[in-house]
Protein backbone atom coordinates (compact mmCIF):
# COMPACT_ATOMS: atom_id res chain seq x y z
CA UNK A 1 0.00 0.00 0.00
CA UNK A 2 2.51 2.57 -1.08
CA UNK A 3 1.54 6.19 -0.62
CA UNK A 4 4.37 7.43 -2.80
CA UNK A 5 2.92 6.54 -6.19
CA UNK A 6 0.05 8.01 -8.12
CA UNK A 7 -2.71 5.42 -8.22
CA UNK A 8 -4.66 7.38 -10.84
CA UNK A 9 -1.99 6.51 -13.40
CA UNK A 10 -2.80 2.80 -13.19
CA UNK A 11 -4.87 1.32 -15.98
CA UNK A 12 -7.99 -0.71 -15.25
CA UNK A 13 -6.35 -4.07 -15.91
CA UNK A 14 -3.49 -3.21 -13.61
CA UNK A 15 -5.87 -1.99 -10.91
CA UNK A 16 -7.74 -5.30 -11.08
CA UNK A 17 -4.47 -7.25 -10.86
CA UNK A 18 -3.16 -5.26 -7.92
CA UNK A 19 -6.44 -5.56 -6.03
CA UNK A 20 -6.39 -9.32 -6.58
CA UNK A 21 -2.83 -9.45 -5.27
CA UNK A 22 -3.77 -7.38 -2.24
CA UNK A 23 -1.42 -4.54 -3.20
CA UNK A 24 -4.14 -1.92 -3.31
CA UNK A 25 -7.76 -1.61 -2.23
CA UNK A 26 -10.76 -0.37 -4.18
CA UNK A 27 -11.30 2.33 -1.56
CA UNK A 28 -7.76 3.62 -2.20
CA UNK A 29 -8.37 3.64 -5.95
CA UNK A 30 -11.69 5.46 -5.62
CA UNK A 31 -10.25 7.95 -3.15
CA UNK A 32 -7.36 8.64 -5.51
CA UNK A 33 -9.79 9.20 -8.41
CA UNK A 34 -11.99 11.48 -6.30
CA UNK A 35 -8.96 13.47 -5.15
CA UNK A 36 -7.81 13.85 -8.74
CA UNK A 37 -11.29 15.01 -9.79
CA UNK A 38 -11.20 17.46 -6.90
CA UNK A 39 -7.80 18.74 -8.00
CA UNK A 40 -8.27 19.12 -11.77
CA UNK A 41 -11.93 19.01 -12.73
CA UNK A 42 -12.75 22.53 -11.59
CA UNK A 43 -15.91 24.07 -12.95
CA UNK A 44 -17.47 25.43 -16.11
CA UNK A 45 -15.15 28.44 -15.68
CA UNK A 46 -11.81 26.67 -15.13
CA UNK A 47 -10.33 23.19 -15.05
CA UNK A 48 -11.11 20.15 -17.19
CA UNK A 49 -14.83 20.12 -16.29
CA UNK A 50 -15.30 16.54 -17.40
CA UNK A 51 -17.92 15.79 -14.74
CA UNK A 52 -21.45 17.13 -14.36
CA UNK A 53 -22.07 15.07 -11.25
CA UNK A 54 -19.68 13.28 -8.91
CA UNK A 55 -21.13 10.41 -6.88
CA UNK A 56 -18.42 10.25 -4.22
CA UNK A 57 -20.40 8.63 -1.39
CA UNK A 58 -21.95 5.98 -3.59
CA UNK A 59 -18.64 5.12 -5.26
CA UNK A 60 -16.91 4.78 -1.90
CA UNK A 61 -19.71 2.60 -0.55
CA UNK A 62 -19.36 0.22 -3.51
CA UNK A 63 -15.58 0.22 -3.10
CA UNK A 64 -15.88 -0.67 0.58
CA UNK A 65 -18.25 -3.54 -0.20
CA UNK A 66 -15.83 -4.88 -2.81
CA UNK A 67 -12.91 -4.70 -0.40
CA UNK A 68 -14.95 -6.53 2.26
CA UNK A 69 -16.04 -9.19 -0.22
CA UNK A 70 -12.47 -9.70 -1.31
CA UNK A 71 -11.27 -9.97 2.27
CA UNK A 72 -13.97 -12.58 2.86
CA UNK A 73 -12.69 -14.58 -0.10
CA UNK A 74 -15.80 -14.13 -2.25
CA UNK A 75 -15.32 -14.63 -5.99
CA UNK A 76 -15.51 -11.25 -7.78
CA UNK A 77 -16.04 -10.14 -11.41
CA UNK A 78 -13.00 -9.02 -13.42
CA UNK A 79 -13.52 -5.28 -12.98
CA UNK A 80 -14.81 -5.36 -9.39
CA UNK A 81 -13.57 -2.29 -7.56
CA UNK A 82 -12.30 -0.45 -10.67
CA UNK A 83 -13.90 3.02 -10.85
CA UNK A 84 -15.89 3.96 -13.97
CA UNK A 85 -17.35 7.27 -15.16
CA UNK A 86 -20.57 7.28 -17.21
CA UNK A 87 -21.64 9.72 -19.93
CA UNK A 88 -24.64 11.71 -18.84
CA UNK A 89 -26.81 10.31 -21.64
CA UNK A 90 -27.12 7.02 -19.73
CA UNK A 91 -29.92 6.63 -17.16
CA UNK A 92 -28.61 6.01 -13.65
CA UNK A 93 -31.08 5.30 -10.88
CA UNK A 94 -30.76 7.80 -8.05
CA UNK A 95 -28.07 9.78 -9.91
CA UNK A 96 -28.89 12.91 -11.96
CA UNK A 97 -29.09 12.43 -15.72
CA UNK A 98 -29.29 15.61 -17.79
CA UNK A 99 -28.00 14.74 -21.31
CA UNK A 100 -26.13 18.04 -21.08
CA UNK A 101 -29.47 19.86 -21.42
CA UNK A 102 -31.42 22.37 -19.33
CA UNK A 103 -34.59 20.51 -20.22
CA UNK A 104 -33.55 17.64 -17.91
CA UNK A 105 -31.75 19.71 -15.27
CA UNK A 106 -32.01 17.94 -11.93
CA UNK A 107 -33.82 14.92 -13.33
CA UNK A 108 -33.07 11.71 -11.40
CA UNK A 109 -34.10 8.57 -13.30
CA UNK A 110 -36.17 5.99 -11.42
CA UNK A 111 -34.37 3.15 -13.24
CA UNK A 112 -30.96 2.04 -14.50
CA UNK A 113 -29.94 1.56 -18.11
CA UNK A 114 -29.07 -2.07 -18.79
CA UNK A 115 -25.39 -1.22 -19.17
CA UNK A 116 -25.44 0.49 -15.76
CA UNK A 117 -27.20 -2.51 -14.24
CA UNK A 118 -24.37 -4.64 -15.64
CA UNK A 119 -21.67 -2.31 -14.31
CA UNK A 120 -23.32 -2.43 -10.89
CA UNK A 121 -23.43 -6.24 -11.13
CA UNK A 122 -19.74 -6.14 -12.09
CA UNK A 123 -19.29 -4.14 -8.85
CA UNK A 124 -17.57 -1.19 -10.45
CA UNK A 125 -17.85 1.98 -8.34
CA UNK A 126 -19.53 4.65 -10.51
CA UNK A 127 -17.66 7.93 -10.08
CA UNK A 128 -20.37 10.07 -11.63
CA UNK A 129 -21.69 11.48 -14.87
CA UNK A 130 -19.57 13.03 -17.60
CA UNK A 131 -20.21 16.16 -19.63
CA UNK A 132 -21.40 16.02 -23.24
CA UNK A 133 -22.80 18.07 -26.07
CA UNK A 134 -26.50 18.57 -25.41
CA UNK A 135 -28.41 15.44 -26.46
CA UNK A 136 -25.10 14.19 -27.95
CA UNK A 137 -25.31 16.74 -30.77
CA UNK A 138 -21.86 18.10 -31.50
CA UNK A 139 -18.18 17.37 -31.98
CA UNK A 140 -16.68 19.69 -29.36
CA UNK A 141 -18.66 19.48 -26.07
CA UNK A 142 -19.20 23.24 -26.51
CA UNK A 143 -22.92 22.56 -26.88
CA UNK A 144 -23.32 21.38 -23.28
CA UNK A 145 -25.83 23.58 -21.45
CA UNK A 146 -23.53 23.36 -18.42
CA UNK A 147 -20.41 24.76 -20.07
CA UNK A 148 -17.70 23.04 -22.10
CA UNK A 149 -15.19 20.37 -21.11
CA UNK A 150 -11.55 21.33 -21.76
CA UNK A 151 -8.92 19.19 -23.44
CA UNK A 152 -6.29 18.04 -20.91
CA UNK A 153 -3.62 18.60 -23.60
CA UNK A 154 -4.48 22.29 -23.89
CA UNK A 155 -7.23 23.82 -21.83
CA UNK A 156 -7.99 26.34 -24.61
CA UNK A 157 -9.01 23.53 -26.91
CA UNK A 158 -12.02 21.29 -27.34
CA UNK A 159 -11.90 17.67 -26.09
CA UNK A 160 -13.98 16.44 -29.00
CA UNK A 161 -17.64 15.60 -28.76
CA UNK A 162 -20.20 14.64 -27.99
CA UNK A 163 -18.40 12.47 -25.43
CA UNK A 164 -15.74 15.03 -24.58
CA UNK A 165 -16.39 14.60 -20.87
CA UNK A 166 -15.77 10.86 -20.92
CA UNK A 167 -12.61 11.17 -23.03
CA UNK A 168 -11.23 14.07 -20.98
CA UNK A 169 -11.94 12.27 -17.68
CA UNK A 170 -9.87 9.33 -18.90
CA UNK A 171 -7.12 11.50 -20.42
CA UNK A 172 -6.81 13.65 -17.28
CA UNK A 173 -6.48 10.53 -15.06
CA UNK A 174 -9.75 11.31 -13.31
CA UNK A 175 -11.08 7.86 -14.21
CA UNK A 176 -9.40 4.77 -15.68
CA UNK A 177 -12.53 3.95 -17.65
CA UNK A 178 -15.57 5.80 -18.95
CA UNK A 179 -18.69 4.89 -20.87
CA UNK A 180 -19.44 6.84 -24.03
CA UNK A 181 -21.99 6.73 -26.83
CA UNK A 182 -21.18 7.05 -30.51
CA UNK A 183 -23.82 8.16 -33.02
CA UNK A 184 -21.49 9.53 -35.68
CA UNK A 185 -18.12 9.32 -33.93
CA UNK A 186 -18.79 10.62 -30.42
CA UNK A 187 -16.54 8.02 -28.79
CA UNK A 188 -13.85 7.77 -31.48
CA UNK A 189 -13.31 11.45 -32.35
CA UNK A 190 -12.91 12.56 -28.69
CA UNK A 191 -10.52 9.63 -28.19
CA UNK A 192 -8.46 10.84 -31.15
CA UNK A 193 -8.13 14.45 -29.95
CA UNK A 194 -7.40 13.51 -26.32
CA UNK A 195 -4.88 10.72 -27.00
CA UNK A 196 -7.06 7.92 -25.61
CA UNK A 197 -8.68 4.72 -26.87
CA UNK A 198 -12.37 4.70 -27.79
CA UNK A 199 -14.49 1.95 -29.29
CA UNK A 200 -17.87 1.98 -30.99
CA UNK A 201 -18.98 -1.67 -30.82
CA UNK A 202 -21.06 -3.32 -33.53
CA UNK A 203 -24.56 -1.80 -33.55
CA UNK A 204 -26.55 -3.84 -31.03
CA UNK A 205 -23.46 -5.09 -29.21
CA UNK A 206 -24.13 -3.07 -26.06
CA UNK A 207 -27.74 -2.52 -25.02
CA UNK A 208 -29.35 0.86 -25.68
CA UNK A 209 -32.07 0.29 -23.07
CA UNK A 210 -31.95 3.31 -20.75
CA UNK A 211 -29.91 5.54 -23.06
CA UNK A 212 -31.58 8.83 -23.95
CA UNK A 213 -32.02 8.24 -27.68
CA UNK A 214 -30.57 10.65 -30.22
CA UNK A 215 -30.80 8.70 -33.49
CA UNK A 216 -31.93 5.18 -32.65
CA UNK A 217 -30.60 3.50 -35.79
CA UNK A 218 -27.10 4.99 -35.21
CA UNK A 219 -26.53 5.30 -31.43
CA UNK A 220 -24.16 2.80 -29.83
CA UNK A 221 -22.64 2.77 -26.34
CA UNK A 222 -19.01 1.76 -25.91
CA UNK A 223 -15.86 2.10 -23.83
CA UNK A 224 -13.33 4.95 -23.36
CA UNK A 225 -9.98 3.95 -21.83
CA UNK A 226 -6.23 4.57 -21.91
CA UNK A 227 -5.37 1.19 -23.41
CA UNK A 228 -6.89 -1.32 -25.79
CA UNK A 229 -7.04 -4.02 -23.10
CA UNK A 230 -8.80 -1.69 -20.66
CA UNK A 231 -11.35 -0.81 -23.33
CA UNK A 232 -11.94 -4.53 -23.92
CA UNK A 233 -12.56 -5.14 -20.23
CA UNK A 234 -15.24 -2.44 -20.08
CA UNK A 235 -16.74 -3.55 -23.40
CA UNK A 236 -17.08 -7.12 -22.10
CA UNK A 237 -18.53 -5.99 -18.77
CA UNK A 238 -21.40 -4.01 -20.31
CA UNK A 239 -22.02 -5.79 -23.61
CA UNK A 240 -24.05 -8.81 -24.68
CA UNK A 241 -27.67 -9.57 -25.48
CA UNK A 242 -30.42 -7.67 -23.70
CA UNK A 243 -34.04 -8.81 -24.17
CA UNK A 244 -35.22 -5.30 -23.25
CA UNK A 245 -33.60 -3.82 -26.39
CA UNK A 246 -35.27 -5.08 -29.56
CA UNK A 247 -32.15 -4.24 -31.60
CA UNK A 248 -29.74 -6.01 -29.25
CA UNK A 249 -27.70 -8.73 -30.97
CA UNK A 250 -28.54 -12.27 -30.00
CA UNK A 251 -25.93 -14.98 -29.78
CA UNK A 252 -22.48 -15.09 -28.34
CA UNK A 253 -20.51 -11.85 -28.28
CA UNK A 254 -16.92 -12.02 -29.56
CA UNK A 255 -14.34 -12.41 -26.79
CA UNK A 256 -12.75 -8.98 -27.00
CA UNK A 257 -10.62 -9.39 -23.87
CA UNK A 258 -8.95 -12.52 -25.20
CA UNK A 259 -8.41 -10.76 -28.52
CA UNK A 260 -6.75 -7.78 -26.82
CA UNK A 261 -4.45 -10.05 -24.81
CA UNK A 262 -3.63 -12.08 -27.93
CA UNK A 263 -2.87 -8.94 -29.94
CA UNK A 264 -0.50 -7.56 -27.34
CA UNK A 265 2.21 -9.92 -28.64
CA UNK A 266 2.38 -7.57 -31.62
CA UNK A 267 2.25 -10.19 -34.35
CA UNK A 268 -0.09 -9.49 -37.25
CA UNK A 269 1.14 -12.05 -39.76
CA UNK A 270 -1.69 -13.06 -42.09
CA UNK A 271 -3.83 -10.00 -41.31
CA UNK A 272 -4.95 -7.93 -44.29
CA UNK A 273 -5.31 -4.23 -43.58
CA UNK A 274 -7.27 -2.06 -46.02
CA UNK A 275 -6.36 1.60 -46.46
CA UNK A 276 -9.55 3.47 -47.32
CA UNK A 277 -8.63 5.75 -50.22
CA UNK A 278 -11.55 8.14 -49.63
CA UNK A 279 -10.75 8.76 -45.93
CA UNK A 280 -7.67 10.93 -46.17
CA UNK A 281 -6.01 13.48 -48.38
CA UNK A 282 -7.73 16.80 -48.91
CA UNK A 283 -9.09 18.36 -45.73
CA UNK A 284 -6.90 16.24 -43.48
CA UNK A 285 -4.22 18.03 -41.44
CA UNK A 286 -0.67 17.19 -42.54
CA UNK A 287 0.45 16.09 -39.09
CA UNK A 288 -2.55 13.82 -38.74
CA UNK A 289 -1.74 12.25 -42.12
CA UNK A 290 1.94 11.82 -41.23
CA UNK A 291 1.20 9.99 -37.96
CA UNK A 292 -1.34 7.84 -39.78
CA UNK A 293 1.20 6.86 -42.44
CA UNK A 294 3.69 5.92 -39.72
CA UNK A 295 1.10 3.80 -37.93
CA UNK A 296 0.40 1.98 -41.19
CA UNK A 297 4.14 1.30 -41.51
CA UNK A 298 4.08 -0.15 -38.01
CA UNK A 299 1.23 -2.45 -39.03
CA UNK A 300 3.40 -3.63 -41.93
CA UNK A 301 6.34 -4.19 -39.58
CA UNK A 302 4.02 -6.33 -37.45
CA UNK A 303 3.48 -8.57 -40.45
CA UNK A 304 0.20 -7.22 -41.78
CA UNK A 305 -0.40 -7.04 -45.50
CA UNK A 306 -1.58 -3.54 -46.43
CA UNK A 307 -3.83 -3.03 -49.45
CA UNK A 308 -5.65 0.01 -50.73
CA UNK A 309 -9.43 -0.23 -50.89
CA UNK A 310 -11.97 2.14 -52.36
CA UNK A 311 -15.30 3.08 -50.84
CA UNK A 312 -16.69 5.50 -53.43
CA UNK A 313 -19.95 6.27 -51.60
CA UNK A 314 -18.31 7.31 -48.34
CA UNK A 315 -18.25 10.83 -49.75
CA UNK A 316 -22.04 10.90 -49.46
CA UNK A 317 -22.08 9.50 -45.92
CA UNK A 318 -21.77 12.85 -44.15
CA UNK A 319 -24.71 14.29 -46.09
CA UNK A 320 -26.84 11.20 -45.47
CA UNK A 321 -25.98 11.26 -41.80
CA UNK A 322 -27.01 14.90 -41.40
CA UNK A 323 -30.41 14.02 -42.80
CA UNK A 324 -30.96 10.74 -40.95
CA UNK A 325 -29.76 12.01 -37.59
CA UNK A 326 -31.96 15.13 -37.41
CA UNK A 327 -34.93 13.16 -38.70
CA UNK A 328 -34.64 10.51 -36.01
CA UNK A 329 -33.75 13.13 -33.39
CA UNK A 330 -36.77 15.29 -34.18
CA UNK A 331 -38.91 12.24 -33.52
CA UNK A 332 -37.02 10.99 -30.44
CA UNK A 333 -36.94 14.41 -28.78
CA UNK A 334 -40.72 14.82 -29.12
CA UNK A 335 -40.96 13.12 -25.72
CA UNK A 336 -39.56 16.27 -24.08
CA UNK A 337 -42.98 17.86 -23.86
CA UNK A 338 -43.00 19.29 -20.30
CA UNK A 339 -45.76 16.94 -19.21
CA UNK A 340 -44.28 14.00 -17.30
CA UNK A 341 -40.70 14.94 -16.42
CA UNK A 342 -38.12 17.65 -16.86
CA UNK A 343 -38.50 21.36 -17.24
CA UNK A 344 -41.88 23.10 -17.54
CA UNK A 345 -42.06 26.75 -18.53
CA UNK A 346 -45.09 29.03 -18.89
CA UNK A 347 -47.82 27.32 -16.88
CA UNK A 348 -48.06 30.18 -14.39
CA UNK A 349 -50.94 31.42 -16.51
CA UNK A 350 -53.91 29.10 -15.83
CA UNK A 351 -55.23 29.89 -19.31
CA UNK A 352 -52.05 28.59 -20.98
CA UNK A 353 -52.68 25.51 -23.09
CA UNK A 354 -50.52 22.40 -23.09
CA UNK A 355 -49.34 23.32 -26.56
CA UNK A 356 -48.22 26.79 -25.48
CA UNK A 357 -46.44 25.39 -22.42
CA UNK A 358 -44.78 22.76 -24.58
CA UNK A 359 -43.52 25.32 -27.09
CA UNK A 360 -42.29 27.69 -24.39
CA UNK A 361 -40.55 24.86 -22.53
CA UNK A 362 -38.78 23.54 -25.62
CA UNK A 363 -37.70 27.06 -26.57
CA UNK A 364 -36.25 27.62 -23.09
CA UNK A 365 -34.90 24.13 -22.50
CA UNK A 366 -33.16 23.30 -25.80
CA UNK A 367 -29.92 24.91 -26.95
CA UNK A 368 -29.13 26.26 -30.42
CA UNK A 369 -27.73 23.06 -31.94
CA UNK A 370 -30.67 20.99 -30.73
CA UNK A 371 -33.19 23.46 -32.16
CA UNK A 372 -31.23 23.57 -35.43
CA UNK A 373 -31.35 19.83 -35.85
CA UNK A 374 -34.99 19.41 -34.77
CA UNK A 375 -36.09 22.01 -37.32
CA UNK A 376 -33.90 20.39 -40.00
CA UNK A 377 -35.33 16.96 -39.18
CA UNK A 378 -38.88 18.29 -39.23
CA UNK A 379 -38.20 19.70 -42.69
CA UNK A 380 -36.53 16.53 -44.01
CA UNK A 381 -39.47 14.42 -42.90
CA UNK A 382 -42.20 16.76 -44.13
CA UNK A 383 -44.56 15.80 -46.93
CA UNK A 384 -43.12 16.57 -50.36
CA UNK A 385 -39.51 16.47 -49.15
CA UNK A 386 -39.39 13.05 -47.52
CA UNK A 387 -38.27 11.20 -50.68
CA UNK A 388 -35.76 13.82 -51.74
CA UNK A 389 -34.02 14.01 -48.38
CA UNK A 390 -34.74 11.23 -45.91
CA UNK A 391 -35.51 8.63 -48.57
CA UNK A 392 -32.39 9.46 -50.56
CA UNK A 393 -30.28 9.36 -47.39
CA UNK A 394 -31.53 5.86 -46.66
CA UNK A 395 -30.43 4.81 -50.14
CA UNK A 396 -26.96 6.19 -49.46
CA UNK A 397 -26.97 3.98 -46.41
CA UNK A 398 -27.42 0.97 -48.67
CA UNK A 399 -24.54 2.13 -50.88
CA UNK A 400 -22.25 2.65 -47.88
CA UNK A 401 -23.06 -0.84 -46.62
CA UNK A 402 -22.22 -2.25 -50.06
CA UNK A 403 -18.91 -0.36 -50.06
CA UNK A 404 -18.05 -1.88 -46.69
CA UNK A 405 -19.00 -5.36 -47.87
CA UNK A 406 -16.76 -5.00 -50.94
CA UNK A 407 -13.87 -3.59 -48.88
CA UNK A 408 -14.11 -6.42 -46.36
CA UNK A 409 -13.80 -8.89 -49.23
CA UNK A 410 -10.29 -7.57 -49.67
CA UNK A 411 -9.28 -6.75 -46.10
CA UNK A 412 -9.87 -8.02 -42.55
CA UNK A 413 -9.84 -4.53 -41.07
CA UNK A 414 -9.92 -1.06 -42.61
CA UNK A 415 -7.87 1.90 -41.39
CA UNK A 416 -8.02 5.69 -41.68
CA UNK A 417 -7.23 8.75 -39.58
CA UNK A 418 -10.01 9.04 -36.97
CA UNK A 419 -10.57 12.78 -37.26
CA UNK A 420 -9.31 15.12 -39.99
CA UNK A 421 -7.61 17.50 -37.54
CA UNK A 422 -6.27 17.67 -34.01
CA UNK A 423 -8.27 19.50 -31.34
CA UNK A 424 -9.35 22.96 -32.46
CA UNK A 425 -9.79 26.02 -30.26
CA UNK A 426 -13.06 26.85 -28.53
CA UNK A 427 -15.47 28.85 -30.63
CA UNK A 428 -13.66 28.16 -33.91
CA UNK A 429 -16.55 26.30 -35.51
CA UNK A 430 -19.42 27.14 -33.20
CA UNK A 431 -21.44 29.21 -35.66
CA UNK A 432 -20.59 27.24 -38.78
CA UNK A 433 -22.56 23.98 -38.63
CA UNK A 434 -21.01 22.47 -41.76
CA UNK A 435 -17.45 23.08 -40.51
CA UNK A 436 -18.35 21.42 -37.21
CA UNK A 437 -20.04 18.50 -38.97
CA UNK A 438 -16.90 17.78 -41.05
CA UNK A 439 -15.12 16.51 -37.93
CA UNK A 440 -17.13 13.33 -38.20
CA UNK A 441 -16.42 12.65 -41.87
CA UNK A 442 -14.26 9.57 -41.22
CA UNK A 443 -16.27 8.09 -38.37
CA UNK A 444 -19.82 8.36 -39.76
CA UNK A 445 -19.73 5.53 -42.35
CA UNK A 446 -19.40 2.96 -39.54
CA UNK A 447 -22.56 4.24 -37.85
CA UNK A 448 -24.55 4.17 -41.09
CA UNK A 449 -23.55 0.54 -41.66
CA UNK A 450 -23.52 -0.62 -38.03
CA UNK A 451 -19.93 -1.90 -38.16
CA UNK A 452 -17.58 -1.56 -35.17
CA UNK A 453 -14.80 1.03 -35.00
CA UNK A 454 -11.89 1.84 -32.71
CA UNK A 455 -9.68 4.89 -32.35
CA UNK A 456 -6.29 4.71 -30.73
CA UNK A 457 -3.45 7.25 -30.52
CA UNK A 458 -1.16 7.39 -33.55
CA UNK A 459 1.17 10.07 -32.17
CA UNK A 460 1.47 13.84 -31.92
CA UNK A 461 1.02 16.11 -34.93
CA UNK A 462 4.15 18.10 -35.82
CA UNK A 463 2.31 21.43 -36.25
CA UNK A 464 0.80 21.66 -32.79
CA UNK A 465 2.09 18.76 -30.68
CA UNK A 466 -1.47 17.53 -30.17
CA UNK A 467 -2.64 13.91 -30.38
CA UNK A 468 -3.92 12.34 -33.58
CA UNK A 469 -5.87 9.10 -33.84
CA UNK A 470 -5.95 6.11 -36.15
CA UNK A 471 -9.29 4.44 -36.75
CA UNK A 472 -9.72 0.70 -37.25
CA UNK A 473 -12.96 -0.69 -38.70
CA UNK A 474 -14.13 -4.31 -38.85
CA UNK A 475 -17.18 -6.15 -40.18
CA UNK A 476 -20.28 -6.33 -37.99
CA UNK A 477 -19.82 -8.65 -35.02
CA UNK A 478 -16.07 -8.95 -35.65
CA UNK A 479 -15.22 -6.51 -32.83
CA UNK A 480 -12.52 -8.90 -31.65
CA UNK A 481 -10.49 -8.08 -34.80
CA UNK A 482 -10.32 -4.45 -33.72
CA UNK A 483 -8.98 -5.41 -30.33
CA UNK A 484 -6.43 -7.84 -31.73
CA UNK A 485 -5.05 -5.45 -34.35
CA UNK A 486 -5.41 -2.45 -32.02
CA UNK A 487 -3.48 -4.13 -29.22
CA UNK A 488 -0.69 -5.15 -31.59
CA UNK A 489 -0.37 -1.64 -32.99
CA UNK A 490 -0.51 -0.13 -29.50
CA UNK A 491 2.24 -2.42 -28.21
CA UNK A 492 4.57 -1.50 -31.06
CA UNK A 493 3.79 2.23 -30.87
CA UNK A 494 4.44 2.26 -27.11
CA UNK A 495 7.82 0.65 -27.79
CA UNK A 496 8.62 3.38 -30.29
CA UNK A 497 7.49 6.18 -28.01
CA UNK A 498 9.11 4.64 -24.95
CA UNK A 499 5.91 5.06 -22.93
CA UNK A 500 2.32 6.25 -23.08
CA UNK A 501 1.59 9.32 -25.20
CA UNK A 502 -0.47 10.81 -22.39
CA UNK A 503 2.66 11.24 -20.29
CA UNK A 504 3.59 14.03 -22.69
CA UNK A 505 0.43 16.09 -22.22
CA UNK A 506 1.66 19.50 -21.07
CA UNK A 507 -1.57 20.70 -19.49
CA UNK A 508 -1.67 17.64 -17.26
CA UNK A 509 1.39 18.87 -15.42
CA UNK A 510 0.13 22.41 -15.03
CA UNK A 511 -2.99 21.63 -13.05
CA UNK A 512 -3.05 22.95 -9.51
CA UNK A 513 -1.66 20.30 -7.20
CA UNK A 514 -2.76 19.87 -3.67
CA UNK A 515 -1.48 17.65 -0.88
CA UNK A 516 -2.96 14.23 -1.54
CA UNK A 517 -0.74 12.18 0.74
CA UNK A 518 -3.69 10.89 2.73
CA UNK A 519 -5.11 9.24 -0.36
CA UNK A 520 -1.86 8.05 -1.85
CA UNK A 521 -2.25 10.00 -5.06
CA UNK A 522 0.50 12.62 -5.44
CA UNK A 523 3.01 12.49 -8.25
Amino acid sequence: MSTSRDLTRLGAAQMAEEMAAGDVSSVELVEAALARIDAVDGSAEAGVHAFLHVAADEALAVARSVDEARAAGEPLPALAGVPVAVKDVVATRGMPTTVGSRILEGWVPPYDATLVERLRAARTPLLGKTNMDEFAMGSSTEHSAYGPTRNPWDLERIPGGSGGGSAAAVAAYEAPLAVGTDTGGSIRQPAAVTGTVGVKPTYGGVSRYGLVALASSLDQAGPCARSVLDAALLHAAMGGHDPRDSTSLAGRAPDVVAAARDGATGDLAGVRVGLVRELGGEGYQAGVQARFAEAVDVLREAGAEVVEVSAPHFRYALAAYYLILPSEASSNLAKFDAMRYGLRVGDGDPQATAEAVMSATREAGFGDEVKRRIVLGTYALSAGYYDAYYGSAQKVRTLVQRDFAAAFERADVLVSPTAPTTAFRFGDKLDDPMAMYLNDVATIPANLAGVPGMSLPSGLADEDGLPAGIQLLAPAQADDRLYRVGAALEARLLDRWGGPLLDRAPALGSFPRRDLTTTGAPA
Partner: protein
Protein backbone atom coordinates in the same frame (compact mmCIF):
# COMPACT_ATOMS: atom_id res chain seq x y z
CA UNK B 1 -37.55 10.72 -57.69
CA UNK B 2 -39.34 12.66 -60.42
CA UNK B 3 -42.07 13.99 -58.15
CA UNK B 4 -39.60 15.41 -55.67
CA UNK B 5 -38.64 19.07 -55.45
CA UNK B 6 -35.80 20.57 -57.42
CA UNK B 7 -32.40 18.87 -57.13
CA UNK B 8 -30.79 21.87 -55.62
CA UNK B 9 -31.82 22.58 -52.08
CA UNK B 10 -34.48 25.04 -51.22
CA UNK B 11 -33.59 28.26 -49.45
CA UNK B 12 -35.39 28.42 -46.14
CA UNK B 13 -36.71 31.83 -45.14
CA UNK B 14 -37.63 32.93 -41.63
CA UNK B 15 -41.35 32.30 -42.20
CA UNK B 16 -40.67 28.75 -43.29
CA UNK B 17 -38.47 28.17 -40.25
CA UNK B 18 -41.23 29.58 -38.04
CA UNK B 19 -43.71 27.14 -39.58
CA UNK B 20 -41.37 24.16 -39.08
CA UNK B 21 -40.59 25.22 -35.51
CA UNK B 22 -44.33 25.47 -34.88
CA UNK B 23 -44.76 21.88 -36.08
CA UNK B 24 -41.92 20.87 -33.75
CA UNK B 25 -43.46 22.88 -30.87
CA UNK B 26 -40.53 25.22 -30.33
CA UNK B 27 -41.41 28.90 -29.83
CA UNK B 28 -38.38 30.40 -31.59
CA UNK B 29 -37.60 34.09 -31.23
CA UNK B 30 -37.46 36.31 -34.33
CA UNK B 31 -33.67 36.45 -34.10
CA UNK B 32 -33.46 32.65 -33.93
CA UNK B 33 -35.68 32.31 -37.00
CA UNK B 34 -33.46 34.61 -39.01
CA UNK B 35 -30.26 32.91 -37.89
CA UNK B 36 -31.59 29.38 -38.43
CA UNK B 37 -32.90 30.28 -41.88
CA UNK B 38 -29.39 31.22 -43.00
CA UNK B 39 -27.65 28.27 -41.36
CA UNK B 40 -30.17 25.66 -42.45
CA UNK B 41 -30.09 26.85 -46.05
CA UNK B 42 -26.34 26.18 -46.09
CA UNK B 43 -26.79 22.77 -44.48
CA UNK B 44 -29.59 21.83 -46.87
CA UNK B 45 -27.49 22.75 -49.85
CA UNK B 46 -24.71 20.48 -48.59
CA UNK B 47 -26.91 17.51 -47.73
CA UNK B 48 -28.90 17.67 -50.97
CA UNK B 49 -26.01 15.85 -52.69
CA UNK B 50 -27.50 12.55 -51.45
CA UNK B 51 -29.85 12.86 -54.42
CA UNK B 52 -26.93 12.40 -56.84
CA UNK B 53 -26.66 8.68 -56.12
CA UNK B 54 -30.15 7.87 -54.83
CA UNK B 55 -31.31 6.33 -58.07
CA UNK B 56 -34.54 4.28 -58.27
CA UNK B 57 -32.65 0.96 -58.48
CA UNK B 58 -31.07 1.45 -55.03
CA UNK B 59 -33.19 0.08 -52.18
CA UNK B 60 -33.43 2.17 -49.01
CA UNK B 61 -31.97 0.86 -45.76
CA UNK B 62 -33.53 2.17 -42.59
CA UNK B 63 -31.46 0.23 -40.13
CA UNK B 64 -28.06 -1.46 -39.92
CA UNK B 65 -29.53 -4.78 -38.82
CA UNK B 66 -32.62 -6.66 -39.99
CA UNK B 67 -35.26 -5.88 -37.36
CA UNK B 68 -37.49 -8.52 -35.86
CA UNK B 69 -40.29 -8.21 -33.38
CA UNK B 70 -39.17 -9.05 -29.88
CA UNK B 71 -41.84 -10.65 -27.72
CA UNK B 72 -41.86 -11.90 -24.18
CA UNK B 73 -44.24 -14.21 -22.39
CA UNK B 74 -47.32 -12.39 -21.19
CA UNK B 75 -46.40 -12.56 -17.54
CA UNK B 76 -46.99 -9.55 -15.28
CA UNK B 77 -43.80 -8.03 -13.90
CA UNK B 78 -43.53 -5.18 -11.42
CA UNK B 79 -43.38 -1.70 -12.94
CA UNK B 80 -42.48 1.63 -11.39
CA UNK B 81 -44.37 2.58 -8.24
CA UNK B 82 -46.62 5.66 -8.61
CA UNK B 83 -44.18 7.60 -6.43
CA UNK B 84 -41.21 6.67 -8.62
CA UNK B 85 -43.10 7.39 -11.84
CA UNK B 86 -44.20 10.81 -10.57
CA UNK B 87 -40.91 11.75 -8.90
CA UNK B 88 -39.60 13.69 -11.90
CA UNK B 89 -42.90 15.30 -12.86
CA UNK B 90 -43.11 19.10 -13.13
CA UNK B 91 -46.49 19.05 -11.37
CA UNK B 92 -48.46 16.34 -9.57
CA UNK B 93 -52.00 16.20 -8.21
CA UNK B 94 -53.79 13.24 -6.61
CA UNK B 95 -51.15 10.71 -7.69
CA UNK B 96 -51.35 11.91 -11.30
CA UNK B 97 -49.39 14.12 -13.65
CA UNK B 98 -50.96 17.57 -13.58
CA UNK B 99 -50.83 19.06 -17.08
CA UNK B 100 -51.90 22.39 -18.54
CA UNK B 101 -55.30 22.60 -20.21
CA UNK B 102 -55.36 20.54 -23.38
CA UNK B 103 -58.18 22.40 -25.18
CA UNK B 104 -58.64 26.05 -25.99
CA UNK B 105 -61.54 27.88 -24.29
CA UNK B 106 -63.71 28.19 -27.40
Amino acid sequence: MSDTPARSAEQLDADRVAHLAGLARIALTDAERERLAGQLSVVLEAVAQVQEVATPDVPATSHPMPLTNVMRDDVPVPGLSPEAALAGAPAVEDDRFRVPRILEED
